[in-house]
Subunit: 403 residues, 4 copies
Amino acid sequence: MFARLERTKVFRDPLYGYIVVDYKIISDLIDTKEIQRLRRVRQLSGVAMVFQTAEHSRFTHSLGCYQMANLVLQNVEGIDVLNEYEKVVFLCSALLHDIGHGPFSHAFENVIQTSHEEMTVKLILNSKTEVNKVLSKVPSLASDVANVIAHGGKFPLIEALVSSQLDVDRMDYLSRDAYFTGAAYGHIDYFRILRSMKIVNKKVLVRASGVHSIESYLMSRYHMYFQVYYHPVARAYECLLEGIYSRLKDLVSNDQEVDASIDSFISVLKNNDDIDSYIDLDDAYVNGFIKQLTKSKDKILNTLANAFQNRHLFNFIDLAYEPNPELIAEIKTKYNNELKKYYYKEAKVSAVAYLHSKKSDINDIKVLLPNNQVKSLDQYSPIIKSLTQSSYKMVERIYYFED
Amino acid sequence: MFARLERTKVFRDPLYGYIVVDYKIISDLIDTKEIQRLRRVRQLSGVAMVFQTAEHSRFTHSLGCYQMANLVLQNVEGIDVLNEYEKVVFLCSALLHDIGHGPFSHAFENVIQTSHEEMTVKLILNSKTEVNKVLSKVPSLASDVANVIAHGGKFPLIEALVSSQLDVDRMDYLSRDAYFTGAAYGHIDYFRILRSMKIVNKKVLVRASGVHSIESYLMSRYHMYFQVYYHPVARAYECLLEGIYSRLKDLVSNDQEVDASIDSFISVLKNNDDIDSYIDLDDAYVNGFIKQLTKSKDKILNTLANAFQNRHLFNFIDLAYEPNPELIAEIKTKYNNELKKYYYKEAKVSAVAYLHSKKSDINDIKVLLPNNQVKSLDQYSPIIKSLTQSSYKMVERIYYFED
Amino acid sequence: MFARLERTKVFRDPLYGYIVVDYKIISDLIDTKEIQRLRRVRQLSGVAMVFQTAEHSRFTHSLGCYQMANLVLQNVEGIDVLNEYEKVVFLCSALLHDIGHGPFSHAFENVIQTSHEEMTVKLILNSKTEVNKVLSKVPSLASDVANVIAHGGKFPLIEALVSSQLDVDRMDYLSRDAYFTGAAYGHIDYFRILRSMKIVNKKVLVRASGVHSIESYLMSRYHMYFQVYYHPVARAYECLLEGIYSRLKDLVSNDQEVDASIDSFISVLKNNDDIDSYIDLDDAYVNGFIKQLTKSKDKILNTLANAFQNRHLFNFIDLAYEPNPELIAEIKTKYNNELKKYYYKEAKVSAVAYLHSKKSDINDIKVLLPNNQVKSLDQYSPIIKSLTQSSYKMVERIYYFED
Amino acid sequence: MFARLERTKVFRDPLYGYIVVDYKIISDLIDTKEIQRLRRVRQLSGVAMVFQTAEHSRFTHSLGCYQMANLVLQNVEGIDVLNEYEKVVFLCSALLHDIGHGPFSHAFENVIQTSHEEMTVKLILNSKTEVNKVLSKVPSLASDVANVIAHGGKFPLIEALVSSQLDVDRMDYLSRDAYFTGAAYGHIDYFRILRSMKIVNKKVLVRASGVHSIESYLMSRYHMYFQVYYHPVARAYECLLEGIYSRLKDLVSNDQEVDASIDSFISVLKNNDDIDSYIDLDDAYVNGFIKQLTKSKDKILNTLANAFQNRHLFNFIDLAYEPNPELIAEIKTKYNNELKKYYYKEAKVSAVAYLHSKKSDINDIKVLLPNNQVKSLDQYSPIIKSLTQSSYKMVERIYYFED
């Protein structure tokens, strides 16, 4: 049904050796400008300020997800319940799930008030995008891929494989972020996990004999969160970005001129349906206008842009580690003025190794016992059950900028 | 004080790149026959029946412990509280701590009713061994090294570094066993751990900022236990050995002749102070007499030896997984005879990710907070606290041999 | 003499585990904006178009060179002939040797007609740079570091260690580029090489017993050249850049307006002593103005910028592989017009595994025989001798752009 | 045609992640005692005296060859010219090709005067072996597998894939020996090689675009020879073995009694068709009787056995490195007596990176040019051509034993 390439394409990848593409439609999608744009958006934004080798892009992760989807198709027992069309929906969803990410995504989503998932869906459905043009050659494919990404419910098995507690996205990014940061925690045994999975009644189950590999994976993920993704210095870098974004937004709202080329940014601020402008935004775009802003006449933009450029980051206090009420009071007083909005930030992050959401079935990992009974992971594994509570960790920090 | 080699010796090692020896005494110890014997004793005995590449010897692990001790001396803050003599005690203890292991050690210790630690101490102190001769060139060194290994209390810091919840032994063997089995769990971040450690008042503390690396290490160790060290097939292989050992012991006790060359084995059975005979025992020795026993006139030895040789292992039932009372009853009936002793075995193994023994300080990991307060690991880390209970796992299996 | 940090700084690095900094001056240099700018300049430019994970920056390589210099100081026999001042000169030179690189350096050097080494020296000596301010705290340090990089002859041993046939630069980049591309060829055994090196009479010699590791290193380097650095697609990407740069240069020379913000670029074109503008140039800068040029009114800039943005690369013909004289004639005819300058390029690259330059001693690797005789590598190793001729390879390609 | 297992078996392997078995016949072969015996024969014999971690067995290599054959079937273009029967012949041949190896094979082949290939063929064809019983369930399979191993000419393509200049055997052992020794040279890019290969007219060709990966592979192999396989200390260990074997053989020929249990050894010495005795021989067997010989009344056996046990190896002189004619003369004089046979050995080893044997087509690697022309590797690659001569290296050593 789906055309194959005459000769398969391969992409060298340090994690998998090679990533193999043989469907023509996958090759065409990789060549679209929406996917190519991801070469210019780093996967881990400010994390590279701490783990300096974390310079890999969302493009390499997107190829990696696609490859992990291939590995699912080759290794998971029972996956042949998907027909070829569904397999292609799966592969396309894996490849495309991140195209909606903006540059320095965390800070960015706050300012444009949409999520990257929503933007991904828009880009897939909007007839002006190259991705849409490629998908539209096959009836219903664009809307089906969008349905998967939007958790629309039409393909629950594919949704679970693309985005759940145990999906191709997480399996690739934990491995990849560990490889590129050099952090030891993310080395998950994905092949063991894949061989533990079994599709029964269109649900992803994990054999009881493989639960240890899931326990290990959940702990890896947890440690990556606190050691890498939530690293205070990475967040301090993003505070600078948020300060700049906020200031720009305020100036734009008040119709004040900004002395830098930021038309696309303004356009997206006003209307995030402006796909052309959205596509225009990438790390280079943001780095570019921040560099221009180092000469801005606006004092705040000028200060923050220079700080960004030369890695003069926000300071921070960890409220649990350094419970210094006097210092905190002093800082709060100092920033209790119009600068507070740009120079001061209270941030909370929290994570737990595993959360069994009662609302949503997709967020529960199910275990298949030898007697064919099925249990929730936290019911089956006492370790996981205890971690659902004990591993909950909240970090509260005050970030502030000192000139 | 201690002589150095003219040119440092290096041993290529896949884990560390190179293992460097520059003290002459270490080089001399490596050349003794007690250390060289460890080349002929596999680290993981029957595990190679499941993870076929787990063929590495206790010799490579012993060099690895020595190297890990070097890394401790180079990287741990405050370690210079040890003077040069004490550092050499530490290096020698790390290198020598396993010389008392017999072949297929687990099964072996049962039959000769002593522990490998006791045997190590005997070998270090007995003036007939080459190890003793080398150590005795330095006054008190042999007895001090023996003191460390026997947990004699003279050098509590060195004891803690050589054998505790977080020591050079475990850090090497988890890494090494992971490398040689290909199991993914054991990849601990030992460099991060070493940099988290700090010696304060002659105690090993772990900085609060490094606790995540300890959490990760404890989970790795836990998973290695159940996935590798306690693997049912590895145990099934050792059941064969225990059957053979028991039968031999019974024949010897009854002064019956054994049609194989097992003088040293018999000698050690009768008197484990017979050092010469003990040194004679290694994997080759055991494999050798088992091969002879494949032609034994004793029916039981003949059967078990042939089974051993051709990997015809004991069957097993996991009582939790396959709660089949009828089958169990049937097996118990079948083996309720004089064969039971050799053909049937009830085995329990248990482990927990972390145990804070109230009795012994050495078995508690201590955390150093930023305010210089010190807490027990399980008090400090809610994750560890919960795991001390939830991770307790006992596996009960019935092993039985079917001809 | 040189101040140490109170607590050593470490940088996680996937190649070395950790990079350790304990001299305050090294820490201060890393914080300068000239070094920080290298975070925004990719090491391999267009290579990421082929090896998509080759996204690492010159910053990580600079830290890596510094670390390799540390490894030299720790492992090479005889290196203590350097006093502490000279060791610091060595470490600073290793860290700083690449700060003069512009964005997409290869194409860039052509257009501004200077080399990155010259620019590095300028940045080190110019009193306006932060690097110069840090170095100038120690008398003569700035000029001595510049002397090393300019091959000024004051410190021949340090020069040889920083830039020769076998230096810290090459040893880091081969390892690093292999790690980040996933190409298998660059895995050199640098520890073995370091242990083979010996400093005698202030010269770097390689022991005869380690020559095999040098042979292997030279072959690795050679294969990295042709498989990675000279990859035709990477070059095709740089052709686009060169087309854009040339067009911009022509417009600027003719005082025509350019509809993009390229003041710093223009300033450097006119005067490469303009340090402030030079520092302003990085990958983001170039990507930024190329994005603006996608809307340029200049047809050529508009075309090439759009092609660059969407990875519509130059085509190429390899003259040796596809000796198609008709096609070549056709192409030459087609581009025989005013577009030729921007749309057509004849490119030759060549390399040889080892070249013993008779002119310059620094480019010869010297072998130390057991009898203390010293021979040139190509005299000693028949393999290398034969490779000096047989491995010479020249690749001639015609690149051309089709709209 | 060939039965599949109900559930595929997997073997964890550090090189490939997992080795997958789904043909029942392969699983049955792995369980035979001839294959299981290889667990007790180390791949690299005396090399573990130098690279102490080189303790892996021929069993793991045999599984690895089988896996590499699987990778060939999955990745090489044109391989589907083989039908299923031929594919199974290929897989079986890869798995079984080393079953004829004796313990410490190099020294052993000299004394029993046969090659391991001949023994492999005998074991496959002899109806008493378990391997033969398994293969004989399929008509003609045993003789066809034997034909491949004996280079009988019936399946030239399979022969080339199993044993040539570029075959599954070499690709596995170079990778494996590098992994287990920690030597850096053997890391070949086998996936790149497999993708370069193409089967045309039942011949294995290598695309010109992949020749660099072959050049790199040949250099790796070459360096592994001299750095690992021919390491003088490994050979010094084997000299001891040869001395022991020779002395035993002489005693046996003269009908003198030997005071150790060596019936099987004697039986094989007299008749290498005695399959049962042959199977009995493994490393444990040899280590076992050597340990008995440490108490032998025969002075020579006693001396050599004790030396073997305690790693008191032969000394050696490298004639090229240490051209000390006086020492050599002295040694020759000293050993010019009846001990010479056991205590003195002149050894030559030589290798070349690539040899294009004019006699045998199978030993030439053929290159496929873009124009479909085919050239010999040494005609196509100037590097290889030069290495055929320049890389030839002969090492001559005198080994001698000093009590």
